[in-house]
């Protein structure tokens, strides 16, 4: 366990250094930040002044060394837009992203597990209802989040006028972002649960339970499903990174004030410090969740527990 966490930490460190270095040099190589900041009709003198003001006139290696030293002390530099430290901007918005992720994850679990269990319990003879549901799940899996979001907006905001377009004030504004983000994971989780339930139902212990007179319902919920959910736990952990990719899109569409929409805005403004701060905070977040999922997985599956000998 300790070994695993240490390996993971080493991975994280390598990833962070590689990522920040790559981004730093890519930006310096391809864009003149001072010219961008000064605007299109600035005089060369003004550009030079801004360059000196932000320290962009120093040698590249000095900038890089200062930058890395800053990172080590959690100093990402200041946002060019808000003028505040970049990390503060990110941390301020992080709770909104976590809230949206938690809502979407909850909805995913509530929807995907029953759907998956139902689809998986066909035992090779799916009826018309299950076939139709399979087709829906299959198409939904091929539907990107922004398409889902636009369809939801068209139906519930434009046609029916039930829900507000965008924003984050009031619970009714939470519905569409949550459903959009959940739409990334529901089909995937449902398919995994279905496969695992189908697999579990073919196991010997199910046959034994059936022979002992357990009802179909009892077999599904007491014997097959708990084992199927084990694999689903692993999926939830590994798909968290995927969920965060989805939240970039979702937050931008619904003007949700999380780190995803911050990233897109910072990108459009060439706000380098914020882009980096977002990337690093997300890397640490994903690491924490993955390590947590590993631990949960170990705690839930007795076969994976280390023998104390």
């Amino acid at each position: 366990m300790r070994q695993l966490l240490l390996t993971r930490l080493a991975n994280l460190a390598v990833l962070l250094v590689a990522l920040t270095t790559l981004l730093f040099f890519l930006l310096r190589a391809t864009a003149d930040q001072a010219a961008m900041l000064a605007g299109v009709d600035a005089t060369p003198e003004q550009v030079a002044e801004i360059r000196a003001q932000y320290g962009l006139d120093r040698p590249l290696w000095r900038q890089y060394a200062d930058y890395m030293a800053g990172l080590a002390t959690l100093d990402f530099g200041e946002s060019l837009v808000s003028g505040k430290p970049a990390l503060a901007d990110v941390v301020e918005r992080l709770p909104w992203t976590l809230l949206l992720a938690a809502l979407a994850m909850t909805l995913t679990i509530v929807l995907a597990i029953p759907i998956g269990a139902w689809l998986g319990s066909a035992q090779g003879r799916p009826g018309p209802a299950r076939r139709a549901a399979s087709a829906v799940v299959f198409v939904l899996q091929g539907m990107p989040g922004f398409v889902v979001a636009l369809l939801l907006i068209e139906i519930f905001a434009v046609e029916l006028r039930w829900l507000p377009f965008i924003g984050n004030e009031g619970l009714d504004t939470w519905i569409m972002p949550t459903v959009t983000l959940a739409s990334f994971l529901v089909p995937r989780l449902a398919r995994v649960v279905a496969a695992n339930v189908a697999g579990a139902l073919a196991e010997d212990y199910v046959r034994t339970a059936r022979a002992a007179g357990a009802s179909a319902r009892e077999i599904l919920y007491r014997h097959a499903l708990p084992n199927a959910l084990l694999g689903a736990t692993a999926l939830v952990g590994t798909q968290f990174a995927f969920l965060l990719s989805g939240s970039v899109i979702t937050e931008s569409i619904f003007a949700w004030p999380g780190v995803g929409s911050l990233l897109v805005r910072a990108t459009q403004n060439a706000d380098f410090a914020v882009v980096q701060a977002v990337a690093i905070v997300i890397a640490i977040l994903v690491f924490t969740v993955n390590a947590g999922a590993d631990l949960a997985f170990k705690a839930l599956d007795p076969r994976l527990r280390e023998r104390r000998s």
Binding site: S134, G142, P144, L150, V158, A194, N196, V264, A279, F287
Partner: protein, 288 residues
């Protein structure tokens, strides 16, 4: 960019019953049709940039514009096929780059233990545990828009998806007797990898190509939707969707048409991937 593992879709959720085991056939047909439209369509359609200001926001099935026109009076069908051409061109090229880098590195890593293997596996782990879109946005933000930056970014960031799966298969093939025999017979590393291991992983590679193509199309559309993909003036399925948001009240078809196009392409490619998996698994079962 989603991470895809080419494991077979569970029997319960496959469309098998619906298509009576012909997923591969239908998937292949649909993908060929999409490719045909993307390649031939732009030649036959009207000029996608031609504006007719007296014929703006025409609904579908209008005279001369069977899918209607957008806010500048541009023909929607012409824009869809041009957008499809662009999106598919990005998806195909970035899939090819990802497959090439991923396969080569996976084979090299599988061939023997050493620093190359450690480095490749570490990089793969690190990449796959990170939200791809976030990195893609950060990189695109710095290197700029356009076809080449987009393709290089998407391909250069998604190769670990191939590397992980191909490595797992290749390293198990390396244990086989025929590889040992080839080695004893004095075959070179390149010859063993290219002549004996690569053919063995080819079926898996084929399945992954289909799924990856769909993923790259979605990634390209997502970036273009955010204004970070296709350059200004270049229609793409993603930026057409982004533009359509202003006209949801007056012209919802501007949203429905590109949305349907994206879903159609992705579902076709997924169907092909599932069908291929099923076929190849069937073949493996029959083999002794």
């Amino acid at each position: 960019m989603a991470t895809v593992t080419p494991t077979a879709a569970p029997a319960a959720t496959r469309l098998g019953p619906l298509f009576a085991g012909r997923e591969f056939l239908w998937g292949a047909l649909a993908v060929l049709l999409v490719l045909l439209v993307a390649i031939v369509g732009p030649w036959l359609a009207q000029d996608p940039a031609a504006t007719t200001l007296d014929r703006r926001l025409l609904p579908p099935f209008s005279d001369g514009h069977w899918l209607g026109t957008d806010a500048l009076g541009r023909d929607l069908w012409a824009r869809i096929v041009t957008g499809l051409e662009w999106s598919i061109a990005v998806a195909v090229a970035s899939t090819a780059i990802a497959a090439l880098i991923g396969t080569v590195l996976a084979l090299l890593a599988a061939e023997r233990a050493g620093p190359v293997r450690t480095l490749v596996l570490q990089t793969v782990d690190a990449f796959l545990s990170f939200p791809g879109l976030v990195v893609a946005i950060a990189v695109i933000a710095t290197v700029g828009h356009g076809y080449l930056p987009l393709v290089l970014t998407l391909g250069g960031l998604s190769w670990p998806v191939f590397a992980r799966v191909i490595y797992a298969e290749a390293s198990s093939l390396m244990q086989r007797d025929y590889v040992l025999a080839a080695r004893l017979a004095g075959s070179s590393r390149t010859r063993i990898l290219a002549g004996h291991v690569l053919p063995g992983v080819a079926p898996t590679l084929l399945v992954m190509l289909a799924f990856h193509l769909a993923d790259m199309l979605v990634a390209e559309s997502a970036l273009s939707f955010l204004g970070l993909g296709a350059p200004l003036g270049e229609p793409s399925l993603g930026n057409m969707l982004a533009e359509s948001r202003q006209y949801l009240y007056v012209a919802p078809w501007l949203m429905f048409v590109p949305a349907c196009a994206i879903v159609l392409v992705v579902v076709s490619a997924n169907l092909l991937g599932d069908g291929l998996t099923e076929r190849l698994r069937g073949r493996a079962r029959r083999a002794p």
